[in-house]
């Protein structure tokens, strides 16, 4: 147990450091990203996924990958995605950036953290009501792109292509007039 905690702490410190430096823990920059005024954060996120997917393929080839694919529930994942988008667009924080922003000393993130704890507790309390209602009946299983492409490398190529197109589209469609910079 000891080494697991140190690994988690070390990974978290590195992760929090990078997302602070790229500006993801700045709710102003995040709001400008959502308003198509600053493109660094969405390009950063999509590129990180591309590179991680390629890296994970390497880990799998080496036999050292620990994977756990979450199932797709058409209704629960969909409703959650819509609610999450409302909350994210409204306050500019997502769960991970909240922790980094709290560490930075942003007081509004402290309230996002407290609200998040309340939201998690609220869901946990009603887990037995929501999961059989919204999740289980529409659960189509742990499907991945590889189920359609036939092989994992082919699916990674497809993912890289789609995400690459998205990065290109964001690059050209987002205005970035003032770059979302904090003066």
């Amino acid at each position: 147990m000891g080494s697991e905690i140190w690994l988690g702490l070390l990974s978290g410190i590195a992760f929090g450091f990078v997302i602070q430096r790229v500006g993801a823990s700045n709710a102003d920059k995040m709001a400008r990203a959502h308003l198509m005024m600053e493109s660094d954060i969405p390009k950063f996120m999509l590129m990180a996924v591309i590179l991680s997917a390629v890296g994970l393929l390497g880990l799998e080839a080496a036999g050292v990958a620990n994977t756990r694919v979450l199932p797709t529930s058409l209704v629960a994942t969909g409703v959650a995605g819509i609610l999450f988008g409302i909350g994210w667009g409204f306050c500019g924080y997502c769960p991970g950036t909240t922790w980094a922003a709290v560490g930075e000393g942003r007081l509004d993130a402290v309230f996002a953290l407290i609200g998040g704890l309340a939201g998690a507790a609220f869901f946990a309390h009603l887990h037995e009501f929501f999961i059989p209602l919204l999740y289980d009946p529409f659960n189509v299983g742990q499907i991945t792109l590889a189920d359609w492409t036939g092989s994992r490398p082919a699916a990674v190529v497809l993912l890289v292509f789609i995400f690459g197109l998205c990065i290109g589209a964001i690059h050209f469609l987002w205005k970035g007039k003032n770059g979302g910079q904090t003066p």
């Binding site: 990078v18 790229v22 660094d40 590179l51 797709t72 999450f84 309230f111």
Partner: protein
């Protein structure tokens, strides 16, 4: 084309993406898919456990999650430490109210804090319904080619963009 946006205040997105991906791959090798909304559950589980252990034991949501003595909680705690270290050694201004929010809604701290409390409540409620958040479901899932992560990702970006447009209107665009 975007070079002028990369003020030295912030790391440019491409090298930062390499750094983050390196960390994510390290996590997949040493732990499993990284997640951050789970850390909220671990913290609240640990807290509730001390006052109502029976409630936690019988709750199916807490049953699936480790408490504070876990990788998941150490990770989010680490994120706060990393954010602190990066903030203290960098030049990015720390504000309690984002500029764009202040322009749109004024400088009331109560209003902003109430908004982030509500936003935090919604994103964590939603994350627990889906089983993950931006990191645990979208980034981790898409890295593993999971349809759940891609589906969630499309929705959160699209809805957040619409929401931000409704919330801010043209604020910030005039300059």
């Amino acid at each position: 084309m975007d070079k002028k946006n990369n003020s030295p205040l912030y790391w440019p997105w491409l090298p930062a993406a390499f750094a983050l991906a390196g960390i994510i791959v390290f996590i997949f090798a040493t732990f499993g898919p990284p997640a951050s909304s789970s850390g909220f559950v671990s913290l609240i589980k640990g807290a509730v456990q001390t006052v109502a252990p029976g409630y936690v034991e019988n709750n199916p949501h807490y049953a699936t999650m480790p408490d504070t003595g876990s990788w998941l909680f150490a990770f989010v705690l680490g994120m706060a430490i990393g954010g602190f270290a990066a903030g203290r050694t960098g030049r990015i201004q720390v504000r309690d109210i984002p500029e764009i929010w202040e322009k749109r809604f004024g400088n009331s701290r109560i209003k902003r804090f109430a908004a982030t409390f509500a936003g935090g409540f919604i994103i964590l409620f939603a994350s627990r319904l889906a089983g993950g958040c931006t990191l645990g479901l979208f980034i981790s899932g898409s890295t593993q080619l999971a349809v759940s992560g891609l589906y969630f990702g499309v929705l959160i970006f699209a809805v957040a963009m619409v929401t931000a447009h409704l919330v801010y209107g043209n604020t910030g665009k005039e300059e």
